[in-house]
Symmetry: C2
Subunit: 194 residues, 2 copies
């Protein structure tokens, strides 16, 4: 059986948001990409584009949350390496056209304000997951939180830079520094705050 139309539309919206951003993705693009009929949009999404953008942002966010949670089962250090690997192949596979759907929602305009808010929630969730794994290595909670934010922000920023530069070097450098940082602070004695 094929994917139900509402689900197919959300999946297509995620894919198109990654490639073109929210503003550049029309509802006609979504129905064409998903193969549903144009009249079905307001049947499945009475709220129109904003409701679809919200659903797509949440789906993209929870997908990454799930991936992150799975990777972090192992170890924060290795998880970052695997996460960077994931994005590296995702970028190259798509010819640097596809980015992070949550980042696209974060930069969207006021017309899709609820999607932007959902992006904020997703970022918070990722930070929490990562902070929990870092804290498991013996760092104090506030330090783990700020290191986690640096990791998430660094990777998201590297995705931006890689897309603009058309190569994966920024992501590789950020990944290397993050691993060194976590290896130092988690693998041995934690340095004092001074």
């Amino acid at each position: 059986m094929p994917r139900p139309p509402r689900e197919a539309m959300i999946d297509s919206a995620v894919a198109l948001f990654r490639a073109r951003g929210v503003a550049d993705t029309s509802l006609r693009d979504v129905v064409e990409h998903s193969g549903v009929s144009r009249g079905s949009i307001y049947h499945h999404f009475p709220g129109g584009k904003e409701e679809l953008a919200l659903a797509a942002t949440e789906r993209g966010g929870t997908f990454i949350s799930g991936l992150l949670a799975r990777l972090l089962d192992d170890d924060a250090d290795k998880a970052i390496a695997a996460f960077v690997d994931y994005w590296t192949s995702a970028l190259t596979a798509a010819g640097f056209q596809d980015g992070c759907p949550v980042a696209a929602a974060a930069l969207s305009s006021d017309e899709t304000a609820s999607a932007r808010a959902a992006a904020g929630v997703a970022f918070t969730r990722w930070e929490e997951l990562m902070a929990e794994a870092i804290a498991r290595r013996g760092l104090p909670a506030d330090r783990a939180a700020s290191l986690s934010t640096l990791a998430i922000a660094g990777i998201e920023g590297a995705l931006l830079i890689c897309r603009a530069q058309g190569n994966t070097e920024a992501l590789a450098r950020v990944g290397a520094e993050l691993r060194r940082l976590l290896g130092e602070n988690g693998g041995e004695i934690v340095r004092g705050s001074a």
Copy 2:
């Protein structure tokens, strides 16, 4: 005398890109914001929207380059703190509506491919400036380069997150971690690579 019309249009494009992104900014928005007449667009920018987006991305990029170069005259550590302060007040002053114009160009679609390329050039320039300042503290060039990329990517990523979350906490945490990182690696003996 007022600012010449071409310059005014570029300035307006930068401002609108920061607030709404490239795709959501129409040429009519730009002429209205800058006060020039609609017929002047193709007089000043024969290449249409793509040429204007390119010019705006370059202007935004060189503005940040100049700011960064000035701040880095002092010290890499203090420069990062000042840079984070700059973005913190910029975000709060605009009610978290305005982001980085170069990031907006990096996430733009293929229709403004030249602007995306210009964003890549701008990112490279920022990384070089920052790496040079970090290397001045005695780190090897490749290490300075990867630390510099982490700093730029971390701040750009934090801007995304702050815009989505509606507060400046992510930027503050990233700034704190970056300063600690540079303070450790630059202020004292550089640790071995192992």
